[in-house]
């Protein structure tokens, strides 16, 4: 524990050196500090064993409803002796003036004070005055009190009647007030006052947290991935989130009756159809590829239906179809949509990245190498590849990345070579190797989340404190 003291602590110590025992209120008054500051200072000193704190309870007393009544009209036992002043009376006669609890209390206390005699006769019990009565100790205590709370008005012998009166219902109200008396401990007394004025501060003390304004954690991962693609020599292209079915599905050789195109998987925009689809040649060739490959009537109206893109591949394929590069490394990154029930692992809208390499001499092994390098750059070093299936690539592979924390292999990006059924109709003659996948999944690994929805909850306490774990 540091021996550098806060200014509040110094002021308290100085004061206690001259006046050994002080309450917190007195400290506040003398130092002109707030009660809050004094309480904090005293607590710090206590924790450093520089001050002792003794807590004393103070009681104050006031009359309750029945007490006030007794003060005005006399205690029940007094009222009883007044009734029998001029001769004995039966219980029934007394009851006409003293009812209920008062009656019982009056009898009990009058007997205790030895004021009355009770005789059983044929006509019932008779009460008579035993002797001349003096002011009882209970009456004395009542006379000391009133509606305002008071303390320190009692003599030692008043303790017993006070206790007895407090047992009577609503006669006396007791308040407890605790005061802390602060004194210096032995160590505290030995503190060198001069040293206290050296100007040093407690550099080890705890400080409040401050919140930085930050880039959203998911955006942080998106930015990292974008940078990594650029480092790997890829140039970014972008396109609309809303697309015609033609570019989202037809151009990628997805037949019009394919289950992925159903309403239950894809978001269709209500009553919106694309006016301009593609060039007439593009439309004709795509249509022919479908007729030849899938043997069905290809309907242009179906291709006009507007959807929220289900992948970024629609942007890539349109770019390739329009530009027809002989050699290229491009990537597309952004929001994609699936009509999914939301869960800890599924969102209706999420981010995807996809890179393609176009080139006469590019190979599948090259694509595996690019991908391995990509993972290495974002901190994932154990990577392996498995075969898989994607409708518009052949061959298709998926990459698996080992997660040390979870102790298992996790499926990340997919990859493959665009099918000739996709590229040929669009006039793309060089092989196109594509790779990519969802970004949230990587961000979840980085931020140690197991519920993907957390990224879009925008919970401020999480945004303020989220830290990368990988």
């Amino acid at each position: 524990m540091s021996h550098v003291l806060h200014d509040i602590e110094k002021q308290i110590i100085k004061l206690l050196k001259s006046t050994p025992n002080l309450t917190e209120e007195q400290l506040a008054q003398e130092t002109k500090l707030s009660m809050d500051q004094i309480r904090r200072g005293v607590e710090w000193l206590r924790q450093k064993n520089l001050a002792d704190v003794t807590e004393i309870s103070h009681f104050t007393y006031a009359l309750g409803k029945n007490g006030l009544d007794a003060k005005k009209n006399g205690l029940p036992e007094r009222r009883l002796v007044t009734l029998v002043q001029n001769g004995p009376k039966t219980f029934d006669e007394i009851r006409s003036s003293l009812q209920g609890l008062d009656f019982n209390a009056a009898i009990a206390h009058a007997k205790k004070n030895d004021w009355i005699n009770i005789e059983k006769t044929d006509t019932g019990s008779m009460i008579s005055l035993k002797q001349e009565t003096t002011k009882s100790s209970d009456e004395y205590v009542i006379s000391l009190l009133d509606i305002e709370p008071v303390a320190d008005v009692f003599r030692d012998e008043d303790a017993k009647p006070l206790k007895s009166l407090m047992e009577r219902p609503d006669f006396i109200i007791q308040h407890e007030k605790k005061t802390k008396t602060v004194s210096l401990s032995e160590t505290g007394k030995n503190i060198d006052l001069e040293k206290l004025d050296s100007g040093a501060i407690d550099v080890e003390a705890d400080v409040p947290h401050v919140h930085a304004a930050r880039i959203h954690p998911l955006k942080d991962t998106i930015n990292e991935i974008r940078e990594t693609f650029v480092h790997l020599g890829f140039s970014e292209i972008n396109g609309n989130l809303s697309q015609s079915s033609f570019w989202n599905f037809d151009a990628l050789f997805t037949p019009q009756d394919h289950p992925a195109r159903e309403l239950q998987d894809t978001f269709y925009l209500k009553d919106l159809n694309a006016k301009q689809l593609a060039t007439p040649t593009q439309i004709k060739n795509v249509s022919n590829a479908h007729k030849k490959g899938w043997r069905y009537y290809w309907d242009i109206q179906e291709a006009r239906k507007m959807v929220l893109r289900t992948h970024t591949t629609c942007v890539t394929i349109k770019h390739l179809a329009d530009k027809k590069p002989d050699e290229a490394r491009i990537f597309s990154l952004g929001r994609v949509f699936r009509n999914e029930k939301l869960s800890f692992k599924h969102l209706a809208e999420f981010n995807q990245v996809e890179g393609v390499v176009v080139g006469k001499h590019i190979t599948l092994r090259d694509l595996m190498g690019i991908q391995k390098e990509f993972y290495r750059k974002i901190g994932l070093t154990k990577v392996k590849f498995w075969p898989t299936f994607f409708p518009y690539t052949e061959p298709s592979l998926q990459s698996m990345v080992y997660n040390e924390k979870l102790g298992k292999w996790i499926e990340l990006f997919g990859m493959g070579i665009f099918r000739p059924e996709v590229t040929k109709p669009l006039g793309i003659t060089k092989p196109v190797l594509a790779w990519g996948g969802g970004i949230e999944r990587i961000a979840m690994l980085k931020f140690g989340l197991d519920d993907v929805r957390e990224f879009y909850n925008n919970n401020l306490s999480w945004l303020r404190t989220a830290t990368k774990c990988q």
Binding site: L218, N238, K384
Partner: protein, 547 residues
């Protein structure tokens, strides 16, 4: 992707040659089968929709045998041409479900597990290849209950039969109305008065495709001989489907006889394999390998394809059930699988490329950096949001709403045209956190165009008791001045649904309106249960800092 549950000990037996379970589990992923979960003796694997033969352990065993080198090459299929099995097609079917095909499978035996696998296959074929039975559907029957020749014809909806799993005769209409399959698939038949049926020589109805078989031909574990029929609207798809059933039944030990099909554009199915002849060079080139022709042949055989060297070329024979193979690139994939994906070593391409970010991304990055520097926290919201947040709670006019059809989530039904309502929702969710709270978000917003217009907006809010219009205006002006040397002005605006009267302005740059700024209206804040003062702005970035 579809999933099939396999018994490991059964699979071991089917693969043969003392394979152990570990070997099998290690190899499954290299057939493209993802292990979804693993039990003591069971494994659930996900298989690709283009490989319906992997919907059963018979098909998977065939693949494993190849890749493990236990049994390679194409599986010979023996179909006896003799026998009097025939089905004649009536031309009336051409308007409802024109095609039928089938096969006779004999002397096999099906235990419970095999029946389960075959049902799984049937369901998979119906869903995928059959497009929920619309394109094609299968019926499997006990051959010994049937008299040949069969007839594929149509009948009226009051025709009666005892359907599978029932003892009571029902009419077609009743089946369509009262049974689950009837309700699920009845729509395939449309409103047509005539529906397809298959009857035998005795006039007994054996099937009502694509809905249900008759109880008469129910297959049990005692059944030894089968008739498999496939009906559909596409001949090739029906035969594709049948070919998968045949290869699986062959795995289950059945022998086959031809079912002659005749009449009305129909013909007896042809199970002959196809051949593709190709050069080794392009295959090596695309894979980045340099392997010999004989090695390529061996790779293909491991994938249960036939392959021989023909001079410098390779001839690959593809069995009927591998209709997923379209052409050359599919052969490349088969070579890669046979070679072993594990043996393909990642390489690094020699060519040099200089990458760059899109200009829009660059600009949005600058905005994020500046806004955080100005003390604003970035939030991310969906562009697909709810009418409640976007219009109802913000008291805005919803006539230009853009909605999606049949969303599974109430929170995601319409596309946003502004970002601000989302930021108010963010403030609303954080009312228990300490203030001041300052948020910004940049992203796509949508409006009706031809047919739809997408622009990128920036919105920003500051919430605390002390905040005011001037704070927001100075944030806005600093951002545009420091980041993009743009000078913007604020012009008095008579009113705006989101903002308080008298505390709202149009943001203009070179006299053109680019957005709105102001103190948020108290009723709007009340709707979001926000109890503090909020100021904010939203600007359109297209045309301002990028195109």
């Amino acid at each position: 992707m579809p999933v099939v549950e396999l018994s490991l000990s059964r699979l071991q037996k089917l693969v043969g040659k003392n394979t152990n379970k570990k070997q099998i589990l290690d190899t499954l992923p290299f057939l493209g089968l993802d292990i979804e979960s693993l039990g003591r003796n069971t494994v659930r694997v996900e298989y690709s929709p283009n490989r319906p033969d992997y919907s059963t352990d018979f098909g998977i065993a065939l693949g494993l045998q190849g890749i493990l080198g236990i049994s390679k090459g194409i599986l010979r299929l023996n179909i006896r041409k003799q026998g009097n099995y025939e089905i004649k097609v009536d031309s009336s079917t051409s308007k409802v479900r024109p095609f039928v095909t089938g096969i006779i499978a004999r002397n096999g035996s099906l235990d419970d597990k095999a029946v389960k696998q075959i049902i799984n296959m049937q369901e998979d074929l119906h869903f995928g290849l059959g497009r929920k039975r619309k394109k094609s559907s299968i019926g499997v029957h006990d051959l010994d209950r049937i008299s040949f020749p069969l007839k594929y014809t149509t009948t009226s909806r009051d025709h009666r039969l005892v359907p599978l799993n029932s003892t009571k005769e029902s009419s077609i209409s009743e089946i369509l109305r009262d049974s689950e399959v009837g309700r699920d698939y009845g729509s395939i038949l449309g409103q047509s008065a005539k529906v397809p049926i298959i009857t035998d020589a005795k006039g007994q109805t054996i099937s009502f495709p694509p809905i249900i078989n008759a109880a008469l031909t129910t297959v049990t574990t005692k059944t030894k001989n089968l008739l498999v029929e496939v009906t559909g609207i596409d001949k090739q798809s029906a035969e594709d489907m049948l070919s998968v059933v045949v290869v699986i039944l062959q795995g289950a030990g059945f022998q086959f006889s031809q079912l002659k099909v005749s009449g009305s554009k129909n013909s007896t199915p042809n199970f002959a394999p196809r051949s593709i002849v190709f050069d080794a060079d392009p295959v090596n080139k695309i894979l980045g390998l340099n392997i010999s022709g004989s090695m390529l042949v061996s790779c293909l055989k491991k994938c249960r394809l036939g392959a021989v060297m023909k001079g410098k070329k390779i001839q690959c024979t593809i069995p009927r059930y591998r209709f997923d193979i379209f052409g050359g690139m599919d052969i490349v994939e088969e070579v890669a699988l046979g070679y072993g994906i594990d043996n393909l070593k990642p390489a690094w391409p020699a060519s040099v490329h200089i990458g760059e970010k899109n200009a829009t991304s660059e600009r949005l990055d600058s905005i994020s950096r500046l806004m955080t520097g100005l003390g604003f926290m970035e939030t991310l919201n969906s562009t697909l949001t709810s009418e409640q947040i976007l219009y109802e709670m913000t008291n805005r006019d919803s006539s230009q709403i853009i909605s999606v059809a049949s969303s599974k989530s109430q929170e995601h039904t319409i596309l946003r045209d502004l970002i601000l309502p989302g930021l108010l929702e963010n403030l609303s969710k954080n009312i228990h956190e300490t203030y001041p709270q300052k948020f910004f978000e940049s992203g796509t917003v949508f409006s009706k165009g031809s047919p739809i217009k997408e622009t990128t907006n920036l919105a920003c809010v500051s919430a605390s008791e002390e905040t005011n219009f001037s704070e927001m205006k100075s944030i806005l002006q600093s951002l545009l001045r420091i980041g993009f040397s743009i000078k913007c002005e604020t012009k008095t605006l008579s009113g705006h649904a989101l903002f308080s009267q008298g505390r709202v302005a149009e943001i203009t740059v070179n006299k053109k309106t680019v957005g709105y700024i102001g103190e948020l209206d108290s009723k709007v804040l009340e709707n979001f249960k926000i109890r503090t003062r909020v100021v904010g702005f939203e600007i359109k970035l297209n045309g301002l800092i990028f195109d």
